[in-house]
Symmetry: C5
């Protein structure tokens, strides 16, 4: 297995980061939906944590994307 | 590992998308069963989200299927 | 990697199907235990779904077993 | 990939069995802690199932360990 | 696949330990947040187990890190 092939395989393995980020963001929004539906008064305070949490998990997904692009440059 | 063998392996890895789609659709229908059993009056409104959610998750499974067919064409 | 070695590796990967079947059957029986313990009167009606669900999940495990045997024939 | 290298890789893959056993034993003890904390009177009857369940899941982990040692003998 | 390449792949596989440690630490702190929010009086007693549990799970992640460094020395 030459180095370019290994870099391409590593880019594919970066999708493991997207796996976790997708589950995590879905978990955040599912809990937000459940909480807002149960206590409509708390929407203002809850939405803040929803978007901040979404942004932080999205950042983890972008780490994986950056890692994939770095590997693409080495192929 | 020549290119055709790698394409066949990639087709097999596309089953990871089916893994997630199967769990997701099962999650949607399990929650629908639980909700309809607990609140029979809500069946009309709940079923709408059940089918839309099912279709959207099924679409993700079809992405994996399309990806597998694209890889089959490159083998 | 010659074809026989790949077939043996594929047989080992078929265990991924057993992974899911084991978790699924355990989930069915765990929920049955919990439900029967909470509502003993519902045992007759619940056991029916328990055994049908068990058989259908077991069938998925047998698909993986058949797939492994097909691969064994090709090795 | 010669046979010895494949045997070493197989020994590493045996850790997948430890993965499941660790989660399972943790699940048993977590549920035991929760149950004993909620109903202290049930400790005597619950502990019996806790230790039996622990032993049976531990046995599954030992299967993986035996499998790893068998592979070590073939390397 | 020569030995150095296998060592680099093994270092990458050590990230599986970080996967579990990240989920476990998140589980500990999520439960701590939920418990403290529900019973503010229990914060003193709960925080103790939170930090001890965090340290023990973090230790597992450090095992994986040590393993990766050992593999780096062998590459």
């Amino acid at each position: 297995m030459e180095a370019a092939a290994a870099a391409y395989l590593g880019m594919g393995l970066c999708a493991a980061g997207f796996f976790g980020a997708a589950i995590g963001i879905a978990n955040i929004f599912a809990t937000t939906i459940e909480t807002v539906g149960r206590q409509p008064n708390a929407e203002g305070r809850v939405a803040k944590y929803c978007w901040i949490g979404f942004a932080l998990v999205e950042a983890v997904a972008l780490y994986a994307l950056v890692l994939a692009f770095i590997l693409m440059g080495k192929a």
